[in-house]
């Protein structure tokens, strides 16, 4: 036990670096206290929002502050992790607001729902800041275990339980792969901290094998080929607000660690990564083309988006694109995606919550007459997912493909752009259904007013437009 090291560990600097995570942790404990003390249930939303506000404030400080490397270099706080934390807070807020009045039989477990949501958010923050395999693993489990529970939250529903169980079984398998990979990396390098691994150790075959296992488990979390098969099932079966959260948050957190972790991968792996990326895009888009269930369709679309971002990671691994530009591209892409997919899945939540029946393309027909606001914002989200200019989705795609071009991976970039064009096909189909087709006679989806959903849809739409029209401000801040 190195006592001198321990003395340097718990400093004011370290506390401020961990502040967003600590704020979320304190919030979780306070929510438990609210659950325990009788007569305090009305405080719950207040505590939840206060926690998110505190985490947001600390994350904002980090986003504009200097880089801190703390806890013996196992944890960093810099502008990138600050922005990631801000994204996680927003994703949590969007999912939480769309979850208001969504649950019926499970309404008495809303306290647990909120605790689990905050725990998952804390896990994401920990994952994004970690530069050490052990810290990352703790973050990963802090994210995953609450999500297994949340996926199976509607335990009277067969589909929800199935989603939870499938997610759990495959997630636990991925965790086991990560652990064995981490053990091999530890065997090869003698350390778990990324910054203390030197080049000679990284080129050992045992380290590379471990790195490959770790990468595979991360691929599971970001849902790329060949580890994408769980996504449609889990997204379809999980409660809609949870799906909203998973689609936006989990993917972002895994990417946030995949980028620094990419040093473990040899530059020869870039071609393999690019091939996986393009295969993922192809499979996601082809899968989405034939779906009728809206959650499944958006799940496949999410798979193809993960493939697009993986192309930027490939560009970084090849050594052709700078780590900073790749990190900015993915951060921007993910920011746009949080608002876009958050809004899209959120509107599906709103449509589903009245009847509890699954939302299909059929039930979108004529939505423009019943809910003009929802139809307009949903159309905007579809266009952003498709990468139409003047939306956040377009700039994200542009940045990602330009990193690929920087790295001389022009062929792969062209393949990616072609895939985006294919994707437009099914996004436009949604818009056609909403605006140009008559509703079925017994259409019930999207009736009644839901002020929260309206407000959130507008907020997400504004986010998408601001990211699409005024990128300069974000670019300035992300430096």
């Amino acid at each position: 036990m190195n006592v001198e090291m321990m003395k340097q560990v718990l400093t004011a600097e370290a506390l401020s670096a961990a502040a967003p995570f600590l704020a979320l942790t304190v919030g979780i404990l306070l929510l438990l206290v609210v659950e325990i003390l009788p007569g305090t249930a009305t405080l719950r939303p207040l505590v939840f929002l206060g926690t998110l506000a505190a985490a947001f404030g600390y994350a904002w400080q980090q986003a504009n502050g200097p880089e801190l490397r703390v806890f013996a270099e196992t944890y960093v706080a810099n502008s990138t992790t600050g922005w990631w934390a801000i994204l996680f807070v927003i994703a949590t807020l969007v999912a939480w607001l769309f979850a208001r009045k969504f649950y019926r039989e499970e309404a008495r477990f809303e306290g647990e729902h909120d605790v689990l949501l905050l725990s998952a958010a804390a896990g994401m923050v920990l994952m994004a800041g970690s530069r050490d395999l052990l810290v990352f693993f703790v973050g990963l489990e802090l994210l995953s275990v609450p999500l297994y529970t949340l996926s199976g939250f509607q335990r009277a529903k067969r589909t929800s339980i199935e989603a939870g169980l499938k997610y759990f079984v495959l997630g636990a398998f991925a965790a086991a792969m990560f652990l064995f990979g981490a053990a091999l990396v530890y065997a090869g390098t003698g350390t778990l901290t990324l910054s203390s691994m030197d080049a000679a150790d990284l080129s050992k075959s045992i380290t590379i094998a471990g790195g490959a296992l770790i990468a595979a488990s991360l691929f599971f979390k970001i849902s790329v080929f060949p580890f994408h098969l769980w996504v449609p099932d889990v997204y379809q079966g999980a409660p809609a607000p949870v799906t909203t959260f998973m689609a936006t948050g989990t993917k972002a957190a895994a990417f946030a660690f995949l980028l620094p972790m990419a040093v473990l991968l040899p530059s020869d792996a870039a071609v393999l990564l690019a091939a996986i990326a393009v295969a993922t895009m192809a499979l996601g888009n082809l899968g989405a083309l034939v779906q009728t269930d809206l959650k499944r369709l958006l799940a496949y679309s999410g798979i193809s988006h993960a493939g697009t971002m993986l192309l930027a990671v490939a560009a970084q691994v090849s050594g052709g694109a700078s780590a900073a530009s790749v990190s900015n591209a993915i951060l921007y892409y993910m920011a746009a995606y949080v608002f876009t997919a958050g809004g899209a899945f959120g509107l599906v939540t709103a449509m589903e919550s009245r009847t509890g029946a699954p939302v299909t393309i059929e039930s979108l027909k004529g939505l423009a007459q019943r809910q003009p606001l929802w139809a307009a914002t949903f159309a905007l989200f579809a266009l952003s997912l498709g990468g139409i200019p003047a939306t956040g989705g377009f700039l994200g795609k542009y940045l990602v493909f330009s990193t690929a071009v920087q790295a001389d991976m022009i062929g792969w970039a062209i393949a990616g752009v072609l895939m985006s064009v294919v994707a437009l096909g099914y996004y436009l189909r949604l818009i056609v259904a909403m605006y140009m087709q008559e509703p079925a006679k017994d259409a019930t989806h999207g009736e009644g007013s839901r002020p929260w959903a309206n407000a959130m849809a507008v907020v997400c739409a504004v986010g998408v437009l601001v990211l699409g029209v005024l990128p300069g401000w974000f670019m300035e801040h992300m430096k």
């Binding site: 199976g152 009277a156 079984v169 398998f173 003698g190 449609p232 499944r296």
Partner: protein, 109 residues
């Protein structure tokens, strides 16, 4: 007589392979959970073996403690996962009277 470190690695790799095989071949959820536990414990063994290897390489002056530390975290996480996993299995059984993954097919294309 001491056991060489390589043997520990080989044993852990074999355990991990058995766990992986069980995960893919068995259809009973409980057995699948047990296979995952086996994989986690294989990883634990590998951590301890690696720690021993690095300690021996350093001339046993300073023990490499990160491996055992990680193993303890893995034990805790394995317990947490087992708790959540079994709870989901019970929910599944109450809902469908089965623990056979082949029959868990409400979500399909």
């Amino acid at each position: 007589m001491t056991v060489p470190v390589e043997h520990l690695f080989i044993l852990s790799a074999i355990l991990f392979a058995i766990g992986t095989a069980g995960f893919f071949l068995r259809r009973n959820v409980i057995i699948v959970l047990m296979s995952i536990e086996l994989m986690l414990n294989a990883a634990n063994l590998a951590f301890l073996a690696a720690s021993r290897m690095h300690t021996l390489e350093a001339g046993a002056t300073e023990a490499s403690l990160q491996g055992p530390l990680f193993a303890i975290f893995v034990i805790v996480v394995a317990a947490v996962e087992a708790a959540v996993g079994l709870a989901l299995v019970i929910a599944l059984y109450r809902n469908q009277q089965t623990v056979d993954l082949e029959q868990v097919t409400a979500l399909k294309n």
